[in-house]
Symmetry: C2
DNA sequence: GAGGGTTGGTTAATCGTTTAACCTCGTCCG
DNA sequence: CGGACGAGGTTAAACGATTAACCAACCCTC
């Protein structure tokens, strides 16, 4: 009984329709394709060929119903419009599909309530596990579904994240090395643990005697950056390239030369960062590594094992044109004395 | 027989477990919850209460298997890292979840092969339909699954899109109204039908006698924008805010005042466009409308009907600081004579 | 030449929901 | 009082894949 050319009665081929062509049972076809049961190699080969020719794909609902696994993971993001997250989404999608998983997205639109709602929707849709990038310092409620959280190493419940603190420190060192002794550290909101870590890392790496002004834009939205520069600040380090860009263009507009007179640096190496003039110096996250780690941890959890916690991924400095040597101190703005200089 | 407090034997509640509590059949519970069959209102109410209390959610694989509908749509994007698409993804997700659908994403990473591969993965995962934002002028292959395409009105097979051509024309008019008579139209690639339409719309709206230089960055990546400005160009219109930003910062760096000496405008109102100084004038897409239209059309197709084709959504001009009146012509750069001025 | 092992399958149950078809009362009407 | 009817359920079959349990040959060995 050879395969009849007859297409399956209607729609997509199923195990049954293929089985009927060969006059065998559907279990045999299943076994042949999965290589699990006992099927003669000859028959198995013919079945595989035929299945391939028909473009057979197992019905995922049927498989999901039987096995209890949907092969889909959920991804909850605070705000897709924020340029940082698409990068993460892209990396997660790539990592997941490499592992044979699909990705169901949910945007919590920045609202805390929507975040939990999104989680539940994803669970209801049958996600095997969920990756959450929590909104500003939100604690993710424990759910009875495997979870992986991308936040900061410091956050309890965090699965994997960039070492934002070390990243901040490295950026601080970069600026110190360039001779800057008066910096402005610009964040948006203290409530974001990521931003707290970045700014905190920057601060902590600055020795005493260095002038450092911390500005939270949420609290001081009208900050006059050019005025700060004229007041002696020679470098701005922002917690995001978006703010760095804002600072950069504002300084440029005010006639200040970047990086000759003032340096500017940010975080995350956003799409535009390389495109602007001067191109932005930035601390980049290794999105692929973070996403890969999150996906791996999540899958491990789905498969029952505990996740091998790899907490902090290093960030890397991308030094571009927007940072340069600190300008020579003028009489107007003497260099602040650092402790290092005082104690020889 | 009242509901026993006993939780269902294991895991999530099912129709059966609830039915058992009430001593009725699972069909009755199904009917009570869906309001379809014949169930006494009293019993139905008790069942609904209990289901709500238990947090019952129907198993989506089971439902999908039975009904042939997964309640999930796929979204294929060319490149999530490109800031234009997340906006669209966000709007699609919002519209879809409003309609009770989940969104499965797939990033084709700009590769044409990956685009078809992504489509097939999504179909295999059981997507009821797919929304595609095709990569630069790629024709989407016909699949046996409902499709909605977001490209340009001109593209065959397109479902819905912004009227990029009219948007270009409107932007051109804005610049003409400001007195500009020498423009540079800057696109990235001719292969993108969206960009062709935008630049084409700009060109077409310019009367004879207006100087207009079209620049495709893919072909002339080293274009010297400040030189163009010094050569008499007073306005740059870019097919994307990303390029507009690049032009803006390059001009600023070169010491040209925007918009006093040169105007710059772009498309899409990307995240950073309002944040830079000067803020960017831009032609914005109505992402919610496009996404909503695409989702509606797709669902209509899924439900068997033909989609009500609403082809072109208008774009809206967001005039900000980066465009202003054309500078008074100097002896060095006399205003080109427009036909309008010649024939009174 | 009977028992044991191996090979190559088949049968049937199961996952949870939906839905058409059927059944069993009680009621009402002619 | 017999039959029709409606209200309120129940039964059972499907959807398609997986998998444990079973079974029929056949081969080999003692």
């Amino acid at each position: 009984m050879q395969p009849s050319p007859a297409t399956p009665p209607s729609g997509a081929p199923t195990l049954q329709s293929i089985a009927a062509e060969f006059g065998v049972s559907s279990a045999t076809v299943s076994n042949a394709l999965s290589g699990k049961g006992r099927v003669s190699e000859a028959l198995a080969a013919r079945i595989r060929d035929r299945a391939a020719a028909l473009g057979y794909a197992p019905s995922s609902p049927a498989r999901a119903l039987r096995t209890g696994r949907s092969g889909v993971i959920g991804l909850v993001l605070p705000d897709l419009a924020n340029p940082l997250f698409p990068r993460m989404a892209q990396a997660v999608e790539a990592a997941a599909s490499r592992e044979g998983y699909g990705v169901l997205i949910a945007d919590s639109h920045g609202e805390v309530g929507a975040q939990t709602a999104a989680l539940q929707r994803l669970v209801a849709r049958g996600a095997d596990g969920i990756i959450v990038v929590p909104r500003r310092g939100t604690r993710v409620l424990a759910l009875d579904v495997p979870l992986a959280v991308i936040d900061t190493p410091a956050t309890p419940g965090n699965t994997i994240a960039s070492d934002h603190r070390a990243g901040g420190a490295a950026l601080a060192r970069h600026l110190l090395d360039l001779g800057h002794r008066a910096l402005a550290l610009v964040g948006e909101s203290r409530e974001s643990s990521v931003q707290r870590d970045r700014i905190g890392g920057l601060r902590a790496a600055l020795p005493d005697g260095i002038r450092a002004e911390t500005i939270w834009l949420e609290e001081a939205p009208e900050t006059d950056f050019p005025a700060l520069a004229r007041d002696g600040i020679t470098a701005f380090a922002a917690s995001s390239d978006l703010h760095a860009l804002r600072i950069l263009t504002t300084l440029q507009r005010a006639g200040l030369a970047v990086p000759r007179e003032v340096s500017v640096a940010g975080f995350d190496d956003l799409v535009f960062s390389a495109a602007v003039t001067p191109s932005l110096t930035t601390m980049a996250q290794d999105a692929d590594r973070i996403a890969g780690g999150a996906v791996a941890a999540l899958i491990a959890r789905i498969d029952g094992g505990e996740a091998p916690a790899e907490a902090a991924a290093p960030m890397t400095l991308i030094a571009r044109e927007s940072t340069g040597p600190a300008p020579a101190p003028t009489a107007d703005h003497p260099a602040p004395r650092s402790q290092r200089e005082i104690t020889p």
